[in-house]
């Protein structure tokens, strides 16, 4: 849920990175954090287990510049991808303005991808959102690995609605900022339309 503050002239929005366990959600945020100038970012918080798996969420506040005198601030969150953290995933979706689905391109993770998209749809609906209407982009991550599905196949299974989609290699940054920019743009466009 966006927050527009006339006093500080700020537009604040929330973007959630969703996807199956180990698909690269946290890596997306880490890359954004590493490549953003200090004045445009806040501290990145990772609530993770001792083995560095996301336990509750990662959080990264980011400024993307000004529109007509309003600073645009985006709060990026990841969810824990492991199946049994579903209660936490639901909480993080509260008040979301835009969603990035990070898919693991490896063939053996296709079932996990499908399960996660369905889980996203159900959990969004519980919060009163419709996946077909919310600003939404899909990222096919891990394109550098040997055993990956074709983009056509990924698209057919995970993105039948043909929302904006990006191929990515998150550790090296391929596709990371393109994904972020696209979802941020969709969120602002939706806010403008909604207003």
């Amino acid at each position: 849920m966006s927050f527009i503050n006339y006093s500080s002239r700020e537009i604040n929005c929330k973007i959630v990175y969703y996807g199956p366990g180990l698909c690269g959600k946290t890596t997306n945020l880490q890359y954004v954090y590493a490549r953003t100038s200090p004045e445009a970012k806040g501290k990145m918080i990772s609530l993770a287990t001792e083995t560095e798996r996301t336990l509750f969420f990662d959080f990264l506040p980011l400024s993307l510049g000004e529109i007509r005198g309003f600073k645009t601030r985006f709060h990026l969150y990841t969810v824990p991808g492991q199946v049994f953290y579903d209660a936490s995933r639901k909480l993080i979706l509260k008040g979301v303005d835009g969603v990035v689905f990070v898919a693991d391109s490896q063939i053996e993770r296709m079932e996990a991808n499908l399960e996660s998209v369905e889980n996203l749809r159900v959990n969004l609906a519980e919060q009163g959102y419709d996946l077909n209407r919310i600003p939404y982009v899909v990222q096919y991550n891990k394109r550098d690995l040997p055993n990956v599905a074709t983009v056509d196949e990924l698209q057919r299974l995970l993105n039948p609605r043909r929302v904006p989609e990006f191929q990515a290699i998150a550790p090296t940054g391929v596709g990371v900022f393109d994904t972020l920019k696209q979802v941020a743009k969709l969120v602002l466009t939706e806010l403008k339309r909604g207003s």
Partner: protein
């Protein structure tokens, strides 16, 4: 899509005034107000050296998690929480069902005093949020983003 929270100058001044007074009356170090989605609305007291953005996000995460726990045991939510540290303590309470009032205090104050002052401030804040909700619901309320064009949005991402 949910229209979100819009905060206008007048209500912001009232909210800041209430938080300021609470900081003094409760002998608190810092008072801040966060919406349940983790957006910081106001911060008063010695907040200059605090990472208020992170505090806001973690507060919302904590309140959301406790709300989830409450529902599991048949409660609607836990309206307030208290965390006692060695030097600093933290009191959180839900105001008007949608924002969280956080008070950070040390040994110079006490939980009893904080609770007492929070109760009064919460009532005042609830009235401001009612006023804000009415203003947002008014037909013809100022559209904050109506003047923004598609080109403005494109320009933001052109570099």
């Amino acid at each position: 899509m949910n229209p979100g929270l819009v905060l206008y100058e007048e209500e912001f001044r009232k909210i800041s005034g209430i938080c300021d007074r609470l900081t003094r009356d409760a002998g608190a170090k810092v008072v801040f107000l966060v919406d349940k989605n983790g957006q910081l609305i106001a911060a008063t007291g010695q907040s200059q050296n605090l990472d208020t953005t992170s505090l806001a996000s973690l507060t919302a995460g904590n309140v959301a998690a406790m709300g989830g726990l409450a529902k599991l045991i048949g409660e609607n939510e836990f309206p307030s929480q208290f965390h006692e540290g060695e030097h600093e303590s933290l009191h959180m309470s839900i105001v008007a069902g949608k924002v969280v009032l956080v008070v950070i205090f040390d040994a110079r104050s006490s939980l009893g005093l904080v609770r007492l002052r929070v109760k009064k401030a919460s009532e005042e804040l609830a009235r401001v949020f009612e006023q804000l909700a009415r203003r947002q619901a008014t037909p013809g309320a100022r559209n904050p983003l109506a003047e923004i064009t598609d080109d403005d949005i494109d320009d933001l991402f052109s570099t």
